[in-house]
Structure formats: C-alpha cells, structure tokens
C-alpha cells in the first residue's frame, strides 16, 4: 500500500470546499453517458448518491440485498438530523457545528472533512423539504427544531420519531424516479460478495442473486460502497438484523485500509436483554434522560431481592436508592454523554446491583417527573416511547420504573477514505456509516443521517468527477477479464467450503458466541489482557466455525442460512481486527475506553501526544496480521481540551 494521503486541499479551512468545487475536474455530459458507476447500498448514503449521479447523466447500477431499496437500515433512525441552518437564531453556525462534531468525536477526526460536512448540512434540509419530507413544523408553518445530545443550540430537524424513515423515503423516491428514466438499473436481492480490481482500480463486483444463488459479474468504471456499519459484529445491537460488514470487509481484503475499527458507540438507553433467544435490541430515545432519573439499589441485597421478585422497586425508600449519575456527575447528572452513561451502568451492574432477570439493567424512573409535571405532560413528551416499551416488556413505565441497559448502536470506524471519499483502492469510494470519516471516536446524536446524505447528495457527485475525468477514454469494462473470473472462483470456493463443512452447530450459535466475546472484551471498557484473550478466542472460534458449522441447503436456491454464514465468516475476521486496534490504541477516547488509561476519578484519559492519529489497517494476507498505517491528525483550527462532565 502506498503512503496514506488524505488529499486535503490547500487554503483556509472555511474556503477549502469552495475552492475544491471550483477547481475539480468536470466530466462533460456526453462523456458521463459513457461512464458506468456501481453503487452498493440504498440507505441514505447509497440512495442519495445513486439518484444524484444518475441525474447528472452517469450510468448507475445499484445493488442491495434487501427486497426493496426502501428497506435499508437507515429507515429505523428515530431522533433527527442536524443542520447548521440557525433558523432559531440561537447562535448556530457552520463553524459551531464543525466544532461540536470535532469535540464530540474527542479530537480523532479530520478537520477538513468535518468542516465540509457542516457546510453542506444546510443544503440537505432544503433538498429534503423539496422532495416532500414532512418535517415537524411550528404554528407559523416554518420548520421546527429541537436540541439533541448535549449541544447548546437547537439544530436538529425531525419528523416525529421517524426521521430516518422519512428521509429514506425521500431518497428512495428520487432513486425510483431515476430507475423510471433508465438512468439507474436496480438490482434488488443481490449481495455483493467481492470487489473486482483490474490494473489496480476497482472495476466491478461479484454479486450473488439471492433468489437463485447465481453468481453474477458486474463491471463499471468505479465502485461506490454505501453499505452501512458493522455493529452486528456484537450479535446483539440496535442495528437491523441483516446489517453486516461483508462488502466493506471484502474491499478491505482487496486492499482498502480499514480505519479505527475499535471505535464503536454504545447507546445507554436500550431495552435490556430478556433471554438467550433474543436476537435484536431496541433503542429507546435518548430524550428520555431529560426527565427520567437513573438509579439502582444501594445494596446488593435489595437488588437481589428485586431480581428474585421478593421486593418491588417501589418498596425502596429514597435512602435505599443510588442515583449514581447524579452522585458522580453532579453538574450534568442524568445527561452525561452516551459513553459516560453507558460505562457507569456497566459498573453498577458488575457490582451486583443490576436489576431484571439477568441482573443487567438499571432503572430509569419517571415518578418524580410525573409528580412534578403531571402524567399528561410526560405522556405528551414520551407517550409513544412508553407504548413501545410496554409492547416489548409488558411493563407499564407510568407505574414501575423503566429498565434500560446500554447496547451497541453505531460504528464510527470503517473504510479509510481521503477527502474525495476514495478508499486506498483507486476507484473504490465509501460513503455513510461504511466509511470512518467524520465522527472521530464518538458520534453526536443526529449526525449520522446528516453525514449519509451529505456524502451522497453533495460530496460524491463532485469528488467522483476527480476520478472519472481521467477515465473518459476507458472503454466499457469487460466482465470476461481474468480478474473477474478469478474473483468469481474465489467466491464460489468460499461458498462450497461453507456448505461442505456439514458440521453440527448452527451459524447463529457461532454469531452469538462471537458477539459475547466482543461485548465482554471489546465493548464498553477494554484492557490489554482481555483483548489478548479475545483475539485468541476469536481465532479458535473461527477455526471451529469452518470445521463444525452446519449450513443447510444448496447455493442454487433462496437460502438465508447461507447468506448468514457468509456474513458471520467476515464478522469473525473483523472482530479480531477490532481487538487488535483496541489493543494498539493505548489511550481512552470517545467510545474507546482502556481501563489502563483513566484518571484517578475513573474518567477517560486521552493521549494526544502519541495517538492523535487515524489507525488505518492494511490487510496483511491473513486476518491475524494486519499492517498499521498512521494518518496523523493536524488540528489547525481547534484547541484540544479534555472533556469533563463533573
């Protein structure tokens, strides 16, 4: 791999993007028609990218494993999308959004990319409104905002609790329009299983038709991956069941560096696990912490009695309760950032003071708020969330305190990209949650939707020109090239290998075991011993998987178990890389907490001297020997300070 070059344009931070746009190479309309682009993924990033490129005149082929582009995981986002519109006149600005994002990311993201994100954020809202996204409005008919995740301005736009759904439907409709014009050829129920590289450039993919099992070769002048995050490496997460890392991982194995894989976000307010049969966790909006108070019993005995049903939480007096967030963090209390709240919950449960059958949950209690404001106010604020909670748990949070526990929610790491959103494989681009670019070690609430749409609508349409302008003389890529042949054969061998093991354990059981290892040793807090142990365990698990997994059926049919097996196989390689990365990063920052690196009060201790870099890992021939490349982060516009919430 060549030395990493982020290709950050010269000039002042606030003028880089403007200058870039006016100097980037353009592709003439008649040439666009001859250029083909493959886009994998139809979430916010993929759908916005594909429709925009088609509008510009490129020939676009779009792939998704879903039965329809509208089902992408983005649909599930609830809370909202940020933009520096300053409609509330409360002092917001592009710079402030930029600054909040850099600081929120604990100074592990690239200034130039983040500033561009903040700049284009305003156009996103314009575009979505024009598409018919029904954002919340005030009585005067103008757009309403709310504040989110500990920032001091109101810049979050939302559509009830279904912002992701409405934004995705908007992008899906634009994509549908391009499908109808013929500019986009849509391949539903197709899973990308490999990236094809010809003469050093990404020129196509191998995709499996999920209905027939047929392996298909698809060629283009370049390939865009918008394939989402890898939170499901933990098995249990808030991600949709089918979200997976395979597209990104396969690109990694073909030469794309994987950046900061250990940066994962754990969300503090999820509905706790109720049993081993469970396959999916449900997020409860963070907004609940505005009025709910978090507590566990002071004594282990009380906690035990409640777990065994001998006592009810309502039996405990104020003195017997430990409102631990308010106690430890008096100035932020229940509103400390996601990572801090999550870790604190883990600690009290580790002490044996957790609740619920598994002992892995804490109370989020609304009784004070109900007494103070009345049930009506609370119901107006959180009614639908309370309903979801009751549907799932069968408990009424108006009467007994809600139970919550942290869960894996988002992955900040991903494919390394430069300013053009190009990976280390020329012609292979990565957008949305699939890349690592904007959130550093921790993502702020309502910023993932913003990033996905920024990348797809407003960044890649310019930056892809930089690559394609040099390709106008390249004829259509031929899928009978030996590179396609070889890649297809490798995929076929992989499939046959999985089908022929004919072992005794289900793929699901391996995934669950992998998830437990990741959660225990590479989850909310990490240490060197644990990580080393996890690496050993994952290697053994991988070996056992190939020996003893059972995948029913054949390749030549609709076979969800085979799909799962291919994905789990890749998760097992990524999991190891995450542990290696976490072991390498001898500091605590954002979502990455190394127990060896904390202050006396137990707070995260960053090491800017040695670790203000992006860890970009090159595939080293086998999953256990990745090669580290460092992109040093240069901060010219913000001063690095320590977060404190005491």
């Amino acid at each position: 791999m060549k030395k990493l070059d982020a290709k950050i344009p010269e000039g002042a931070l606030s003028s880089k993007w403007q200058q870039y746009k006016s100097s980037v190479s353009l592709v003439a309309p008649n040439n666009k028609r001859r250029l083909e682009v493959i886009v994998v993924g139809t979430g916010l990033a993929g759908a916005s990218c594909a429709s925009t490129l088609s509008e510009l005149g490129y020939n676009v082929k779009v792939f998704t494993f879903h039965d329809s582009p509208r089902r992408a995981h983005s649909i599930a986002a609830q809370g909202g999308i940020n933009a520096a519109k300053n409609y509330q006149n409360d002092g917001d600005s592009v710079y402030r959004l930029f600054y909040d994002t850099i600081k929120g990311g604990d100074y592990r993201s690239r200034e130039a990319n983040v500033h561009r994100l903040a700049e284009v954020s305003t156009s996103i809202i314009d575009q979505c409104v024009a598409q018919g996204v029904p954002f919340a409005r005030e009585y005067g008919g103008l757009l309403e905002n709310r504040s989110f995740g500990g920032v001091q301005v109101s810049r979050t736009f939302y559509a009830r609790g279904q912002t992701g759904q409405q934004l995705l439907i908007g992008a899906y409709q634009s994509l549908s329009r391009q499908i109808s014009t013929g500019g986009v050829k849509m391949y539903n129920r197709h899973e990308m299983l490999d990236l094809v590289i010809v003469d050093g450039k990404a020129r196509g993919i191998i995709a499996r038709n999920l209905l027939t099992g047929e392996l298909e070769r698809h060629a283009a002048h370049c390939v865009v991956l918008a394939t989402g995050g890898y939170g499901n490496v933990f098995y249990l997460s808030t991600n949709a069941m089918n979200s997976n890392t395979s597209a990104a991982w396969r690109a990694h194995r073909r030469g794309a560096a994987f950046a900061n894989p250990c940066f994962t976000q754990i969300h503090p307010t999820c509905i706790p696990v109720s049993g081993t049969y469970q396959s999916k966790l449900t997020l409860m909006s963070e907004s609940l912490r505005n009025d709910g108070r978090v507590w566990v019993p002071k004594s282990q005995e009380d906690a035990k009695a409640i777990r065994e049903g001998k006592k009810s939480p309502l039996d405990l007096s104020e003195e017997q309760r430990d409102y631990y967030l308010e106690r430890i963090y008096p100035s932020f209390g229940n509103l400390v950032p996601r990572d801090v709240a999550s870790r604190a919950a883990k600690y009290v449960c580790d002490e044996g003071r957790g609740l619920g059958e598994t002992g892995l949950s804490v109370y989020l209690d609304f009784s004070d708020a109900i007494n103070r404001l009345g049930k009506n106010v609370i119901s107006a604020r959180y009614g639908n969330l309370f309903e979801i909670y009751q549907k799932i748990t069968g408990e009424d949070p108006y009467k007994v305190p809600m139970r919550i526990y942290p869960a894996v929610h988002y992955t900040m790491g991903g494919l390394w990209v430069d300013y053009n959103l190009e990976t280390t494989v020329p012609g292979c681009f990565a957008l949305g949650e699939a890349n690592f670019s904007d959130h550093g070690a921790n993502r702020l609430g309502a910023s993932a939707l913003m990033q996905g749409l920024a990348d797809g609508y407003f960044v890649i349409p310019y930056t892809i020109g930089n690559f394609l302008a040099k390709e106008i003389r390249t004829p259509k890529i031929d899928t009978s090239l030996p590179e396609f042949e070889a890649a297809e054969k490798e995929v076929r061998d992989r499939i046959n290998h999985l089908l022929s093991a004919n072992g005794n354990q289900s793929v699901e059981s391996f995934h669950r075991r992998l998830g437990l290892i990741m959660w225990d040793y590479c989850g909310m807090s990490r240490n060197a011993d644990g990580l080393q142990k996890a690496i050993r365990m994952i290697r053994e698990l991988r070996e056992e998987f190939y020996r003893d997994a059972f995948v029913p059926g054949t390749n030549e049919e609709y076979n969800p178990e085979l799909e799962k097996a291919l994905r789990v196989a890749d998760f097992m390689e990524l999991g190891e890389l995450m542990c290696i990365d976490a072991l390498n990063r001898e500091e605590s920052c954002g979502g990455h907490f190394r127990e060896e690196h904390q202050t006396e009060e137990g707070e995260a201790l960053r090491n800017d001297e040695d670790y203000a870099y992006v860890a970009a890992w090159e595939f080293g021939g086998n999953p256990s020997e990745p090669i580290l490349h460092k992109e040093e982060l240069v901060f010219e516009n913000v001063k690095l300070i320590t977060r404190s919430y005491k």
Binding site: A159, Q162, N188, Y558
Partner: protein, 250 residues
C-alpha cells in the same frame, strides 16, 4: 407456554402445504419472530431446512416482515407489525396458523416469503416529486401549515409492507397507493404533479395485477400504521373522478 404452529411451507421439498411444529418452551416475553428463530434453530439442529421468513429492523418500521397469523396479516394485535407482536398475545396450548401474504401481485418465493417488488414499480411510475439534487430553494421559503404537515406525515408513515393487499378480498393496493398520493398532494411541493402522479400510479397498480377497491376497508383494519381509508376517498375525489368515472373505482 406450549404452542403448536401450522406453518405454510412451499419450495424445496414442500409443494405448498401446512406443516405442524410443536414448541414446548415458548416464553411470553418472546416476540413472534423470536419464536420463529427458536423453531428454526431447532430445525437446523435436526439438519432440516428452516422456515424462510423475511424480517430486518424488528422495530415495526422497515416493512419487511410479512406473515398472515391466524388469518390476519401481522396477527391479532392492532396497529402492530409481526415483528412487534409478542407471545403474551397468545395462550398456552394455542394452535397458530402462519401463512404468507397472499395476492396475485405478490408471488410466493419460498415458505412465508413473497415478492412485493410490484410496490416499487408503482412508486417508480410516479410516486415522487421531480426535483434534482441542488435545485431546491431554502427550506423555509414555503411555509406549510402545521396541521397539513402533520396530515401529510400520517399518510407518509406507510411502511410499504403490503398487509393492506393481503387483507383485501380483491387484493387491491389502493390503501398503499392512496397513502403516497395523499402524502405528496397535501404538500405544496407535491401539488404540481399531483394529477399526473395519481393517474400513473393507479394505472401501474392495475397493470401489476392488483384488484379494484370495493370499499371493504379491511385494509385499514389490518394496517400496522393505521393508514386511513380517507386517503382512498381523497384519491378518488380529487384526481380520479374525471378520468376513471366510467370505470367506477369506489
């Protein structure tokens, strides 16, 4: 709880038949799909082909899950998708029939999985506002009345699951189509193309083999997002009256 499942199996070695499965250890707090997971895990243990069913978000928003449970699309609980349905809605000893969504326009792929791509083609024929990226004016340039935005949202909440079609004796897609037409027509941005959109989408719906609406309103009753049949009335009244008068949609 002990539950007996009669599951529709089709494809592979099954020609299209109900197959009985007995589950002994079903917990009330399991979701319906988690129970199906447990069934599948036991089938895989026996080296049998698991029951194919579709799901993704398991939060009631993606519209992927799609079973008919005891004759009702998405099962017995009102305003609830299959993935959000929990076993506490059933009793110990119950026998439950599980079938795919059935409609001519939704061919069965395997077991409980059907092909709903006809919905995509309906949207492609006009279910959008024609605006290219970068053409938009400032988002606050056109104020939209709060109530209007809220009504548009109610229609836009459709998750494209197809339960309305499965519930309808005519297998009509009118609720789905009218929800999209209403969502866009209510907003000033979508008014311009409203007539054309409605006509194109209804035409495609017919071509795809969905039936005609005869006001049974079973769709509304089964819709997990409580999309109102008022949308159908709005579609007919405002845009279709003139064009389809002779064909009498309502």
């Amino acid at each position: 709880m002990k539950i007996t499942l009669k599951v529709w199996r089709q494809g592979g070695k099954y020609k299209g038949e109900f197959v009985e499965y007995k589950l002994d250890n079903v917990k009330e707090e399991m979701s319906f799909l988690e129970m199906m997971d447990v069934l599948n895990e036991s089938l895989v243990q026996k080296k049998e082909q698991p029951v194919a069913f579709e799901h993704d978000c398991r939060e009631g928003i993606c519209g992927t899950c799609s079973m008919v449970i005891d004759g009702q699309p998405h099962g017995p609980q009102k305003a609830t998708t299959t993935c959000q349905l929990h076993m506490r809605s059933f009793k110990d000893g119950d026998t439950i029939y599980v079938e795919p969504f059935r409609a001519k326009a939704f061919p069965v792929i395997r077991d409980l999985v059907v092909d709903r791509s006809a919905f995509d083609r309906i949207i492609q024929s006009g279910g959008y506002i024609s605006v290219n990226t970068g053409q938009a004016q400032d988002a606050n340039a056109i104020p939209v009345e709060k109530d209007v935005a809220s009504m548009a949202f109610d229609a836009a909440a459709c998750i494209g699951c197809g339960a309305c079609v499965a519930a309808c004796p005519n297998a009509s897609a009118m609720l789905f189509v009218s929800a999209k037409v209403s969502h866009l027509a209510m907003l000033p941005q979508g008014k311009v193309e409203a007539k054309k959109r409605a006509q194109a989408m209804v035409k495609t719906m017919d071509m795809e083999g969905f039936g005609r609406c005869s006001n049974v309103t079973a769709c509304e009753a089964e819709c997990p997002k409580e999309i109102s049949v008022n949308n159908i009335a709005r579609l007919n009244r405002e845009y279709l009256g003139s064009v389809f008068a002779s064909e009498k949609i309502v």
